[in-house]
């Protein structure tokens, strides 16, 4: 089983969690490839935090099992926790500690040698921009600083897998940008399993997306595949508003057998087609023949947000 599960960074099999009558997670079967940045999308209460707590060994599954880097995560074995770094939704630290003391304590928990702890502590403080506050009490930190410290403690032992529960929710736009850039930079080296309801964040850095709704996993797909899957047969053309050809462009397009519909919105024409492949081959030559002053041509794709809302409706 270990060999089988080791081919995935994270694997769950029938992972289920009930709280009394409430089914928080329903037979989650999940496979997260090594080195990917996996976005775990879901509305509030979908079961994202429950999944992460089960993976981190903080909650016990009602049924099912989970493995991280081939080691079982749901059996309470403390050694499995060496494989991952974990950042909960609301990280909490001892207020009397300083970031240096905290990172040293966490490093000791992972059995890191003294020189390695010192080096990694400095690296992590630099990474999350807390060098200036390294010797200040955590009790005086803002929410954003605590969140950044949380990311530092999750990464200090150079884990293979990073479990992040809403890592950007407490950050300001600049902090969010920095954290997302940092997470994107881990791609290929660390598997980032990242839960969020901020779709823009997932859209920006994730290469694979899982959508969880009411405890049930609806879909796991590479992000590009998901967007393509939900693509609509439409193209938008932005043309010169003063161009003479603008007046009869819609009629010319409607005369083509592969065009289904057209609609103007200011100087942008939305063209719905019957067959995308033919349209992609025929459209540009047609526009060239008509000598249309084309500013912009874009095939319409729904946003991840639209797809998510449609899936979890």
């Amino acid at each position: 089983m270990a060999e089988h599960t080791a081919s995935w960074a994270i694997r769950t099999e029938g992972l289920t969690k009930r709280y009394g009558d409430v089914l928080a997670l329903d037979h989650l079967d999940l496979r997260v490839p090594h080195g990917s940045v996996f976005g775990f999308l879901g509305r509030n209460g979908a079961g994202k935090t429950t999944t992460l707590r089960l993976l981190a060994g903080l909650a016990h599954p009602t049924e099912g099992r989970a493995w991280i880097m081939g080691a079982e995560a749901t059996n309470g074995d403390a050694n499995t926790r060496r494989q991952f770094g974990y950042l909960p939704q609301s990280p909490a630290f001892h207020k009397w500690m300083t970031p240096i003391e905290l990172l040293d304590y966490v490093g000791r928990s992972y059995g890191m040698a003294a020189d390695q702890r010192r080096r990694r502590t400095q690296e992590m403080l630099a990474l999350v921009g807390l060098e200036e506050a390294a010797k200040r009490r955590i009790g005086g930190f803002s929410g954003g600083m605590v969140q950044r410290l949380g990311i530092a403690q999750a990464l200090i032992h150079e884990p293979s897998v990073l479990l992040l529960d809403e890592p950007t929710s407490a950050l300001d736009p600049a902090g969010r940008h920095e954290v997302l850039t940092m997470l994107a930079g881990l791609r290929g080296r660390v598997t980032v399993f990242f839960s969020s309801h901020i779709i823009a964040d997932v859209d920006r850095i994730c290469d694979t997306v899982g959508v969880l709704h009411q405890g049930t996993l609806l879909q796991v797909t590479p992000r590009e595949e998901l967007l393509a899957q939900y693509a609509v047969n439409a193209v938008t053309l932005t043309v010169d508003p003063n161009g003479a050809e603008r007046a009869d462009l819609a009629d010319i397009l409607m005369a083509q057998p592969w065009v289904a519909d057209t609609a103007w919105d200011a100087n942008t024409l939305r063209v719905t087609v019957h067959d995308v492949a033919i349209a992609q081959r025929e459209l540009l030559p047609l526009l060239a023949r008509q000598e249309v002053a084309l500013y912009r041509l874009e095939w319409v794709r729904p946003s991840l947000e639209e797809i998510f809302l449609e899936m979890s409706a």
Binding site: M1, L58, E72, G76, A78, R81, P88, P91, H94, W96
Partner: protein
């Protein structure tokens, strides 16, 4: 030398069940809570077993306790075996039925370890230790001068053989308890088989086998004069059961597939990190300072109060005519005051300092941060207990030193040996409450709830001393012992004139309570969601 060997034996018998359980968890994981279920089955079975035997004695089917006169020996042995088998195996069956889930073999073994373990702790550890201490104390007494009844003298003389041959007594007791624990594992697995195979035959077999073993033990105890032969008879009747138990090992999960506790070596860095963090925490949160101030206050104020209280009374106008009646304060008064102050001031202190240890961390979320690292939950709990113990040790040493120096200045010097023993007893007494508070803190979901549970548990421990017959075993017995030590102390009267008062049973029970509280705390935290 005897005292050292006795201490080692008692500590071994107290530790053996826990070490065996740790060993089992290394082979195949099982919850510590099942160990406690085993403890409960032992306690529950004895709650029925002892009154049942007393009733059978009252109606003449069994001889009166401590005697084998009257009914034929074979019938006595049979009845004693049957009552033991029925009460203990039915208690085990009731526990398995109440658990309402299909348990693996390792859980049945853990339950057996709890049941046999607590028996080994009490019979092997506490009772053996206490009786040996009493017999050793009797050696300083001239028994002939006491005018005791001939029967009692004969019984004492028989018991004194144990003191004259201490090594064989201790070795035999250890071997016997090890075999008995193995037997309890066998009985436990037999009862488990009844549930696993849904057949009552295994339960009946467990009862019958338990009855047979106990019957042989009782019979051999009366007809065989050599204690070695007696233990041999016990071993012979036990061996088939132990052999059967060995053959059941195939039902344990395969080593490569079993969930197992990691080795201590693997977990050691996290354990050290946890203890270091806790020690740093008591310094940085000023807990150490507060505790030391409290201990120093008690240490300094006790001799001062003993010295000045009579003077203050004598200076009161209305009391002046009776000033001659107020006794001259002495070293003994200082020690009495020391014991009183320590118990009155430090018990609430221990509860207040420890009640948030785990609960507050769960409430704030820092426990989740720690436990998502390779920190085993047992280490999380034991690091807190180690810190509390360090705090109490350092505080008590400081208090004792201050009390000693102030007494030296104000009175005669305290005798060092007895004063050290007083402090050792008080230290153990405080540790019982520290462990109970830690258990309360683990069970509570918030610091407030933990405080309530801790106060409740502490109250129950204090009230336990008022329970007839078993009250003397309660931790408060340590205070009675501490109060009886020293020159001129108004303590508990000794059983026999000239023999020093001791209460090794209370000391042993306190050690067991500490161990059980910690096991319960670890078991509860392992079962909890953080």
């Amino acid at each position: 030398m005897i005292i050292i060997m006795l201490t080692i034996t008692v500590l071994f018998l107290l530790a053996l069940p826990v070490l065996a359980a740790i060993g089992l968890r290394r082979r195949a994981w099982s919850s510590w809570l099942l160990f406690l279920v085993g403890v409960a089955t032992f306690a529950g079975s004895q709650a029925v077993h002892i009154p049942l035997n007393n009733w059978l004695a009252d109606i003449g089917l069994l001889p009166q306790a401590g005697s084998f006169e009257g009914p034929p020996l074979w019938r006595t042995a049979l009845l004693l075996g049957l009552t033991a088998g029925l009460c203990e195996e039915l208690a085990r069956a009731a526990a398995l039925a109440l658990l309402r889930r299909r348990l693996p073999l390792q859980d049945a073994l853990m339950l057996g370890l709890g049941h046999g373990g607590i028996e080994a702790m009490f019979i092997g550890g506490v009772a053996l230790g206490a009786s040996m201490v009493t017999l050793l104390s009797l050696r300083v007494v001239d028994l002939g001068s006491l005018g005791l009844d001939a029967n009692i003298m004969a019984q004492i003389a028989e018991q004194m053989i144990n003191v004259e041959q201490p090594y064989s007594t201790l070795a035999l007791a250890t071997v016997e308890r090890c075999i008995a624990m193995g037997l309890h594992l066998t009985f436990s697995v037999m009862v488990w088989r009844a549930f696993e195979r849904r057949t009552v035959g295994w339960l009946l077999l467990a009862i019958a086998y338990h009855a047979a073993v106990d019957m042989v033990a009782v019979y051999a105890g009366q007809v065989v004069s050599s204690r070695w032969l007696m233990e041999l008879a016990f071993l012979v009747v036990t061996l088939p059961g132990l052999f059967w138990l060995w053959r059941q090992r195939g039902d344990l999960p395969r080593p490569d597939q079993a969930r197992r506790s990691p080795t201590l070596r693997d977990q050691w860095p996290a354990v050290v990190a946890s203890v270091r963090k806790e020690l740093l925490q008591i310094v940085r949160t000023k807990h150490l300072l507060i505790a030391m101030a409290l201990f120093l206050f008690v240490g300094i104020s006790s001799p001062l109060l003993a010295y000045f209280t009579p003077l203050i009374f004598a200076s009161i106008e209305e009391v002046k005519p009776f000033a001659d009646l107020i006794p001259e304060p002495s070293t003994a008064d200082a020690m009495v005051q020391y014991v009183k102050n320590l118990t009155q001031f430090l018990l609430p202190g221990v509860v207040l300092l420890g009640m948030g240890a785990v609960a507050a961390e769960k409430e704030r979320g820092t426990a989740a941060m720690a436990l998502s690292k390779p920190v085993p939950r047992w280490a999380f709990v034991l690091a807190k207990m180690a810190t509390q113990t360090s705090l109490l040790t350092a505080g008590l040493l400081a208090a004792a030193l201050c009390a000693y120096l102030y007494t030296l200045v104000l009175f005669e010097p305290m005798p060092v040996g007895p004063f050290a023993l007083v402090n050792l007893l008080l230290w153990t007494w405080l540790l019982v409450f520290a462990a109970a508070t830690l258990l309360g803190s683990t069970l509570g979901k918030s610091a407030g709830a933990a405080a309530g549970i801790a106060v409740g548990l502490s109250g129950a421990l204090l009230l336990a001393s008022y329970i007839p017959k078993i009250g003397a075993f309660a931790p408060s017995g340590l205070l009675a012992w501490a109060s009886a030590i020293g020159p001129g102390f108004e303590g508990v009267a000794p059983l026999i004139e000239g023999m020093p008062f001791t209460n090794a049973s209370a000391l042993g029970t306190a050690a067991i309570l500490i161990v059980l509280a910690l096991i319960a705390a670890v078991g509860a935290l392992e079962a909890q969601e953080i």
